[in-house]
Amino acid sequence: MKRARGGGDDEAPRQNGSAARRKGDPPHSDGVDAGSDFGPADLQDADNDPGLRREIRSKYRDLISSVQQNREDMLSPSNNRLTEVLEEANKLFKDVRQAREAALDAQLLVVATDLGKEKATQLFSEGTAFDPSAFAEHLLSVMGINRLEDEEDEQQNGGAVDGYLPQDAWHRVARRAECCFRTAPSFHYMFGSFHAEPPPPKQRTERQRKAPSKDAKRIMPTQLKKMDESHQEATEKEVERILGYLKSYYQDDPTSPISYYEFVIDPNSFSRTVENIFHTSFLIRDGLARLYLDNAKLPCIAPVEEGEVEAGVSCSRKQCILSISPKTWKELIDALDIKDTMIQPLNTQNE
């Protein structure tokens, strides 16, 4: 084995060894030539002709790819291309200066060695060598290839061998090969097997996943509802509270009209004034209070009595839009001389 390998393989390391030795020399001599200035930097400059570097690298790459592409041909014992490639590489190596080129050289060496090893293995096969292509050709006849069409095909495809393989080609090979296998016949149920486990666990996991998502959904709407309700409730409560004030003022003195502005305006807060107007409008809409103009054409407000509610529906209803701005609010406070609010704000009550 070793002897045989030596024959095919030896030249690669030997040649490369000498190349390595050669590699040591030129940079040294270069260094002496340009030794006057900074050694290394100058040395690089001298070798730094980019065109030359590129050329070397491209030649190396060509060599590598040619070896890789013609691998099968180069494997044949009569082919001497491997030696030629190595000699070429040796020539190239004379000009190698930089690490990149050296790396390419090493790569070529790997490819070449690999090829050498393969060539060497061919020498091991004592007796008759085995040729896979001949094997394939023989197999094709076993497969029942129809070579009658070959002649036409050869003319058409320029010599490419192409025959027609029957449908059961691989079955034929399998049948012939059967005797080489001692495979246990596999055992199958006549009516197939029942469905295996997987489905149930899947369902379980789905259920588990679904359950929390439902909870999450449930939480969302309840939260929203609560907000809505509390908001509506607050408005309703406020409206009722104001109605209470209105009624109590009315009962205190049913004869004297309650001025709408005096009732609604909070001299301490414009926003509370607006709120009061907003809430009072519900009373009007629901027919629980009515607005009317007094002799001075100022709006007055009065609660509608229980009995009058139904009657109020029949009488014609009017709509109006009331606007108020901080400016008019202040003017009204001054004009009507409002000192205090008639509707106590909620917060202060609470306090």
Binding site: P132, H138, A174, A177, C179, A184, S193
Partner: protein, 269 residues
Amino acid sequence: MSSRKRPSNPQSASQPRRQTGGSAAQEEDDDVAFTQPSTSQVQRGLEKVTEAQVDQKSAEVVQYFLLKDQKKVPVRRADLVKHVVKEHRNIYPEIIKRAARTLDQVFGLKLVEIDPKNHMYILVNNLETSGDASPTTRPTDPKRGLLFVILSVIFMKGGVVRENVVWNTLKKLRVDPGEKHDEFGDVKKVVTDEFVRQRYLEFQRIPHTEPVEHEFRWGQRAEAEVSKAKILEFMGQLHDRDPQSWTQQYKEAHSSQNSSQQAGGSSQR
């Protein structure tokens, strides 16, 4: 060459097993949990169970093997213990012994441990095939033909081939690994995945190649199941030659032939 190469084989072969096995790490973990009980432990364990219980368990093991064999993927001892033997693991050797006997005497199958390190079992037909012109009418599996071609090439090329050799040979047979084949579908997957999982083939990376290259070897199942002598005989017929003219292969075939037929499978090697 092959005789010298052989000793290095199990070592290098253990590497791809680790890669292709995927769950190799888990395999080892499982195995730590299960240590083969000693003979005396088995004896003591047997005293605690009834004869019927042991028979029941071994029958379950037999069934497990038969079903698992449908896909031709080896059975791991760790799986067997985990899924079937379970609480009776202390008498595992007795159970497997009885299962092997049933498989042999009832089904004519031999239980072979193809990988003594990772404890993998396969079933092999114990009965001789009835001559080369087998009158069997059962349907043939075309994949078997594909496998046969690859195994033959590997064997005839001395036990290891680069993937290119295999692909080129297949191409000559109108099977292009890059294309979808009518019968095999994704050929590359069948060869490098299915056959490898079944342990018919080993497919491992050749170190330090750029671009990456792989090589094929016979898998452990092939060693136990496929007769090299028969392949060589077939080669002789094909090439119209005396099988002995392939000296190396002939030697190899007839040395392994002995071990696989007398000692029963490559578990002995």
